[in-house]
Structure formats: C-alpha cells, structure tokens
C-alpha cells in the first residue's frame, strides 16, 4: 500500500493536466467530477496509508521513496524523492481530505461560472503542488512545490480576472510572497554551499554535526528560511497580501488561504526544527513576531465588515498562534493547532461562501441579519466553526489546541508569561470578533432576500467539517480532561517527545475564561447596538488605522511602492538610451542638411567644387 505513495501527488497533477487540456471539451459535469474524484482517490489512498501506518509503522517511522535523480553534479546532487514521516503524513491527510471536501463543495458553489473546468484544473494543480511541498525529501524539491502553490494561489485569487481589482490582489499576493521566496532561496543556496546537500535529513544531520548552537551560520540560514515562511504564512511584516487575497472564490480561500498553503511556513519550520534549535535567537524572534501578528490581526478582525476579511485576519492571527508555539519549541502544539485550524477555518470559509451564495453574493455582515431560522445548516455550521475558532472550552476542537499552545508558552523559560498574556488577550479578541459576526449575521431582524437551497454537495462538506471541528480536539487533551496524548505520541518519532509542563492552575483557568469573556463582550456590544452603530457613524482615525491592518499597507506604499513607481516613471523614458538616441538624432540632422544640397543645379555643384578646391589649395599652401 505505502509503495503507492507517489500516486498521492501524481493523481491531482494528472487530472489537472487532463482538465487543462480537455476541460472545455468535457463540460462542467465531467470536469467537476474528474477534479473531485482525483483528489478523492488521493484522500482514500492517504487515509489507507495512514491506517496502515498506525497499525504497522515502518522502521523509525520514516518511509522514503526515491523516484529519480533530478540534478547530478560532482559533489552535489538532488533526487526527486518523497519522505513520509508522521508530520508529512498528517499534512498529507489534511490536504487530501479537506481538499476533497472543498472540491466537492466547489462543484456546487461554482455552478454556472465561466471557466468551471479551468477552476478545477488550477485547484488540482494546487493540491498536487502542496502535496509535493509536504512530501519532498529535499529542500530544492520542496521549493518547487513552494513556488507551485504560489503560482496556483496567484491564478486562483485572480480567477475572476475581468475585474481589475482582483488582478491587483492576485499580483499583490504573488509579489509579496515572491519577495519572501527570494530570502528563502538565498537560505537554500547558503545551506547547499555550506553543507553540500539539500536533502533535508542529511542537511539537518550535517548542520547539527558542524555548527554549534547560537553560532552565526545557523542563525543566518534559519532567518532566511524563516522570512520565506513568514511570507507564505502571512505573518508580520509580510502579511499584507492575505486580506486582499480574499478576492478569489470562497472555496479557494478555504483551501489555500486557510487550511493548507498559508501553513506551509509552519510546516517548513517544523520540518527543519533541528536547524532552528541551533538558532535560539531566531526562535525568540519567531515568538515575538507571532505575538505581534496575532494581536495586530485580531484587532483588525474586530473592525472589518466583510465576512471574508474577518476570516482572513483570523487566519493570520491563528497562524500567529502556531508560530508562537514554534517560537517556544512546542512543535506538536503547532501541528495540532494546524490540524484543528485547518478543519474549523475551512468550515468557516465554506459556510461564509454558502451564506453568500444564498444572499446573491453579499459579503457585508451588516447587510445580513436574522439568518438563523432561514439558513439553519449554515447557522449551525458557522456556530460550530466559530466556537472552535474562539476556543470555547471542552466542546470545541480549537480549545484543546490553543490550550496546548498557551500551556507550553506559559511554561517556557523565556519571558513566557508576557507572551502568554498576549496570547490570552488574543483569545479574548478572537472570541469577540468572531461572535460579533455570528450575532450580527444570525440574530436580529431579517434584512435580505434569501433564495435557492443547498444541495447535497454543499451539505456533506459542511456537516463533515462540523463534526471534525467538534471531535478532532480529543486527540490531545490536557491533564484533568483525560490526559489523552495520541497526537503527540504519533508525532514523537519526527519531532521528539512533548511534555505537558506543569503550570500554575491559573493558566488553564484563564484559558477557560478568556473565550467566554470574549463572547460575553461580543454579546453585550451586540445588544446595545455598538457593532451596528459603528457602520453608520463616521469611523474615527484609530478605527480606520486598525481596519487597514495597522497601516502596513500605507507604510509599504510609502516605503516601496511610491519610490519604485517614481523610478519607473524616470526609467520609462530610458535615460541611458538617450545617449544613443542623441547620436542617431545628430546623424539625421546632418543627413537633412547634406541632402538639401542635392538640388540638381550644375552651377551650384560647380561652385561647391570650386570652393572645395580653393580650400584644399589654401590648406596645402599655408600649412
């Protein structure tokens, strides 16, 4: 069974090629089926490999499959190979299963859209690239997948490209992540020149053997890799592209900008965590940056009025939690939050899409209201997703993963308690902003026309993910709630044993209280109409500042875009070339003058000849 591992990325790639070549001929029904079934088969394969893995794990819990040699040079070679360990198995399971559900959802959501088969070709290509990213055993191959998902993100954000703003959003997401990827590429080149290989395991072994902890080389290398990860995962200071990326279709946001691609940075750090352990300062920087990101994004989420932008900022904020876990070295906690986040955020995005579908593509939450009785399925799905995002104690999956992270942060030797306090503040804000959406959208009077109905292809993903968002948290529970450790034991071969460190009883208690407090704030402000009033009154300067994501866009406009555009305007007229254009101009003027002498009059020619002769004789005589 496990020998068919290569089929997992190959199936979506194959169907993407088929759809790309023959999609328009096949028609929407067949192309939707081909796109969904290929990912579905990959999911079935991944699940059966996963089940087999649990009963019969391979030696050292690692399975390697070398497909072919890609680049062979003297002293340096790159093999295209797949590397399966618990971390990549978890990623593969999430990508294929959630990817399959989102494909299924898309077949109904995108019904009647132009470019239906093109959409599925892109989405399949994305899944293939993402699977290559997580299965790669070599950083160069990982980078291929890394760029592949970037391209697919660009294509899908700009899917409705006839709207210029969508094209702008696509370009922005592409350019910002590309800037980060340059740093990552530099990191890869540094690692390959210093350690002579990019094979991840060989590279890590070599790094641990040659470099001492805290020395310069691993610090530089991990910083460069980290910048790549920050760009992909939309973390401060490279986060500005994610809210704009919401211009794409909603299932795309669910798959790419919530569940899978944006967590590639987390995966990269976990995959190379041995290297990051050699650079403790970089880990500290990750933790601090993560706290800044999660607070900035949580505040920004508090004042958005577009439902998808709220979810975009919450994605940023939740990935901030994952990076916070990475910063304190709690690798399984980060992966656990990745798992729960993938489930509940995909659920939230899909539900937001399902709501917008019935409301004639309305996305402004203040134009909605009272949808609870009209859309019971969407209400329950969104409520479960929100509860999980807000980390509502016991009943939601998000609670357990966030608790694991905050527990690990509080126990960290660094100024862990300050980071933990910021994390708790973020948790309060998270609960507030998401339940602000829940109350505004589902309570109160009905404001919009509701049309259509949900088919089974919408209902199945929503119900499945809702169940997942409720139960997946029980894979790892803290002490006092069963002390279940299936998840961290599963990951132990890849990232080491995870200890739930003892912390003061106040820590979990406040973890309980924070989401409830946040929901309470949201409800009170909903009841006294503060949320709704904010849309009718003129927003204050502070609100505008926070709504724009704390001014990062304006800052980057001033720092980079404006100088660049000025330079472009100068260079548009090609100042260097004007030197050569001057020569050309001189030749043309001289030519005109000389041509004017050719007037066809013999007497004029004769006088010029005479003048020339006189001049020549004069020169000969007097020189």
């Amino acid at each position: 069974m496990i020998t068919y591992l290569w089929l997992i990325p190959a199936l979506p790639l194959f169907s993407s090629v088929i759809l790309g070549l023959f999609g328009p001929v096949m028609g929407p029904r067949v192309s939707g089926a081909v796109g969904t079934i290929s990912v579905g088969l990959a999911a079935v394969l991944a699940v059966s490999i996963g089940l087999h893995w649990i009963s019969h794990p391979p030696t050292n819990s690692i399975y390697e499959q070398t497909l072919w040699a890609w680049i062979t040079l003297p002293g340096f070679s790159i093999n295209l190979g797949l590397y399966l360990d618990p971390v990549s198995l978890l990623m593969v399971l999430v990508i294929t299963v959630i990817g399959c559900l989102i494909h299924l959802f898309s077949t109904e959501y995108m019904h009647g859209e132009d470019g239906y088969s093109r959409y599925f070709a892109y989405l399949n290509l994305f899944v293939a690239a993402m699977l290559l990213l997580v299965l790669a055993d070599d950083l160069a191959v990982l980078f291929v997948g890394w760029e592949g998902v970037g391209v697919c993100s660009y294509l899908l954000v700009g899917f409705w490209f006839s709207e210029p703003t969508n094209g702008y959003a696509a370009r922005k997401s592409f350019v910002v992540t590309r800037i980060a990827d340059i740093a990552m590429l530099a990191g890869l080149l540094l690692l390959s020149t210093k350690l002579g290989t990019l094979n991840i395991q060989a590279m890590l072994t070599g790094a641990v053997a040659t470099w001492s902890a805290g020395s310069l080389m691993p610090t530089v290398a991990t910083s460069l890799l980290l910048i790549g990860g920050l760009g992909k995962s939309a973390q401060v200071p490279l986060q500005t592209w994610l809210p704009d990326a919401m211009a794409g279709p909603t299932p795309v946001s669910a798959l790419i900008h919530a569940a899978t691609m944006v967590t590639a940075g987390v995966y990269l750090v976990v995959r190379t965590h041995a290297l990051f352990l050699l650079a403790p300062h970089v880990l500290d920087a990750i933790a601090v940056g993560a706290v800044i990101t999660l607070l900035v994004a949580a505040f920004a989420g508090l004042v958005q009025s577009d439902i998808k932008r709220v979810l975009a900022y919450s994605t940023m904020s939740q990935i901030g939690y994952m990076f916070l876990a990475l910063g304190v070295g709690a690798w399984p906690a980060a992966m656990f939050h990745f798992l729960t986040h993938a489930v509940f955020k995909a659920l939230l995005f899909l539900t937001a899409g399902a709501i917008a579908m019935r409301l004639n593509h309305e996305q402004n939450i203040f134009a909605m209201g009272g949808l609870r009785s009209k859309l019971p399925l969407a209400f329950w799905a969104f409520l479960i997703g929100s509860a999980s995002l807000a980390a509502l104690p016991i009943i939601s999956a998000g609670f357990f993963s966030k608790e694991m992270i905050l527990g690990a942060v509080a126990a960290a030797p660094m100024p862990g308690l300050i980071l933990w306090a910021c994390g708790i503040l973020g948790a309060v804000l998270t609960a507030t902003y998401i339940f602000r959406v829940v109350f505004t959208v589902f309570l109160g009077p009905l404001k919009t026309e509701v049309s259509g109905s949900y088919g089974v292809r919408i209902a199945v993903p929503l119900v499945t993910l809702s169940v997942g968002a409720l139960v997946v948290g029980w894979l790892e529970t803290p002490e006092g709630l069963g002390n279940q450790t299936i998840f961290s034991r599963f990951l132990t071969p890849a990232v080491g044993v995870f200890h739930h460190l003892p912390v003061s009883f106040m820590i979990p208690l406040l973890g309980f209280a924070a989401p409830l407090l946040g929901i309470g704030i949201a409800y009170v402000l909903h009841r006294n109409g503060t949320w709704a009033r904010a849309t009718t009154t003129m927003p204050s300067k502070l609100t505008i500042f926070i709504r724009s994501g704390c001014g990062f866009d304006m800052l980057y406009d001033e720092l980079f875009v404006v100088p660049y555009m000025t330079l472009v305007r100068v260079l548009r007229h090609d100042p260097v070339d004007s030197m050569f254009a001057g020569l050309q101009y001189l030749a043309i003027v001289a030519h005109r003058r000389l041509r004017a002498m050719q007037i066809g009059q013999i007497r004029r020619y004769a006088s010029w000849m005479m003048a020339g002769s006189v001049a020549t004789i004069a020169i000969l005589l007097f020189s």
Partner: protein, 102 residues
C-alpha cells in the same frame, strides 16, 4: 626671351574667365565653351611650365589635353542634344529632375 610669368598670368586669367562663365551662364552651350576655355588655360600652363624648365613634357601634355577636350566636347554636345529633346531649351538649371526630393 619671354618671361614665364606673362603666359602663366594669361592662363590664370583665362581659367578665371572660364570659371566665371561656368558659374554665371545658364545656357549649356556656353557652359561647355567655358569648360573648353578652362581646359585651354590648363594647356597654356603646361606649355609655360615646359618653357620655364626647358622640358618638352609640357607640350606632350598639351596634345593630350587637346585630345581630351575634343572627346569631351563631342560627348558634351551629344548630351546637350539629348537634353534638348526633353527640356526644349538649353537652360541647365531646368535639367534638375535627378535632384533629391526633400
């Protein structure tokens, strides 16, 4: 004994006259005659030079120049006749259809 400056001055005067005629006259026949005068001025200068240095080469050159002038005259007259068919008069300035059109 004639001093060489006199014929040389005569040659210069003839050449200048020919040149003046060439530049001033529009009729092609006169232009041709002016060229002949200039050629004869050159021939006279050859003779004078031969006299000055007592060398017969100057006279040989004159014979050659005269031959050349005869041939050139015949050719020039043919061209004038041909041109007359086209432009109906002998105005050299009117024969400017080969000019570069700006």
């Amino acid at each position: 004994m004639i001093i060489w400056q006199t014929p040389a001055g005569l040659a210069l005067a003839l050449f200048m006259l020919g040149l003046l005629g060439l530049l001033a006259r529009r009729s092609l026949v006169f232009v041709l005659m002016s060229i002949e005068i200039m050629l004869n001025a050159a021939g006279l200068l050859f003779i004078t030079a031969g006299m000055r240095w007592g060398n017969p080469d100057g006279q040989i050159m004159l014979v050659m120049v005269l031959n050349l002038a005869g041939a050139e005259l015949a050719l020039g007259l043919i061209l004038i006749l041909r041109l007359r068919n086209r432009i109906t008069n002998l105005d050299g300035d009117a024969a400017n259809i080969l000019r570069d059109v700006p």
